[in-house]
């Protein structure tokens, strides 16, 4: 009798565990669905009010629409870049925009050789965190930047730089340059909604099977 009770308790524990694992997968499916929903952009802000020079971009500033006004101190090429919309590798034109407060920010102007006018320029764009991996190994230091990361330029300029970079959406005055898409940052979650739902089915089927085990046990004896 006590053996039967022990067996029943064991089955119950297994079934409860499988049901709980199914609920966990259901939660993950809902999380994946939440994360993949498009989020409306927050209002555009001046970059000086959002981040500080020499300090890492906080998470809530990543992907924000920003504006900045200043003049281009230097124009560089960032080879082997891609926008994430497609896998085509391009050479991006990157400017170091020196703002009125004396600090500079890396600005991706677009693709091509169009030189910006030598005057005060108002830039609107999206702020991205610095790239971690070099895109161009052995870049020519005078005219190229190996990755979009202001720390790479620290020894080449004599003013403070903001962390991260801005992909330009518009410039005033406008110059005829092919822009790079400034897409929203997509947070990738592991797995897909329907994949997690399939695991819910599996775990709950397992729970059902565990509860039916006495039937199989009796039949095999």
């Amino acid at each position: 009798m006590s053996r039967k009770i022990g067996f029943a308790i064991l089955l119950f524990i297994f079934a409860a565990t499988f049901v709980r694992l199914g609920i966990w997968q259901l939660d993950r499916a809902q999380l994946v669905q939440e994360i993949s929903k498009p989020v409306a952009d927050k209002a555009e802000v001046a970059i000086e009010t959002l981040i500080k020079p020499r300090i890492s971009i906080p998470d809530n500033a990543k992907g924000r629409l920003v504006s900045a006004t200043g003049s281009y101190e230097r124009i560089l090429q960032a080879p082997n870049q891609s926008s994430g919309e497609n896998s085509v590798r391009e050479n991006w034109q990157v400017g170091i925009l020196k703002l009125n407060n004396g600090a500079g920010v890396l600005v991706v102007r677009g693709v091509g050789d169009s030189t910006p006018p030598n005057q005060l320029i108002e830039v609107r764009g999206r702020l991205f965190p610095s790239q971690i991996e070099d895109r161009a190994v052995g870049a020519n230091l005078a005219s190229e930047i190996s990755r979009l990361d202001s720390t790479v330029l620290l020894s080449r300029v004599n003013f403070d730089l903001y962390d991260g970079y801005v992909i330009v959406i518009s410039e005033k005055p406008d110059s005829q340059i092919e822009r790079v898409p400034a897409l929203q940052i997509v947070v990738k979650a592991a797995g897909f909604y329907w994949q997690h739902i399939s695991y819910v089915v599996i775990w709950w089927l397992m729970a059902l099977l565990v509860l039916c085990m006495p039937l199989f046990k009796r039949r095999s004896e």
Binding site: Q195, S198, F216
Partner: protein, 102 residues
């Protein structure tokens, strides 16, 4: 009995092939190789793998009920559907037990 065996056989092959694709295509591409353009093309693999497995389990249960398998054997056959090649071996084992002359 024959119908249950055929259903199990089909699902054992499907589960085996899907496990091979999952272990040797999906996992290396997503976690070990840096090929973002390929990642989008193989999104279907874990989803199809996830949905075929319950059908495999159901065919195992149907066969187990008819052949009066014990619980341990049922668990082993269910787990065989998650490992590459194991479900092929499970299917071979069932075939041999049903046709001892082969």
């Amino acid at each position: 009995m024959n119908g249950a065996y055929i259903r199990f056989r089909i699902m054992a092959w499907v589960a085996g092939i899907m496990s091979l694709i999952l272990w040797f295509v999906d996992i290396p591409v997503k976690y070990f190789l840096n090929v973002p353009f390929l990642e989008d093309k193989i999104d279907w693999i874990p989803i199809v793998h996830g949905y075929q497995y319950p059908f495999y389990i159901i065919t195992v249960i149907e066969l187990a009920y008819r052949l009066k398998w014990d619980v341990i054997k049922i668990v082993k056959f269910i787990l065989a559907g998650t490992l590459p090649v194991a479900s092929f071996l499970a299917e071979k084992k069932v075939r041999a037990s049903l046709n001892p002359s082969n």
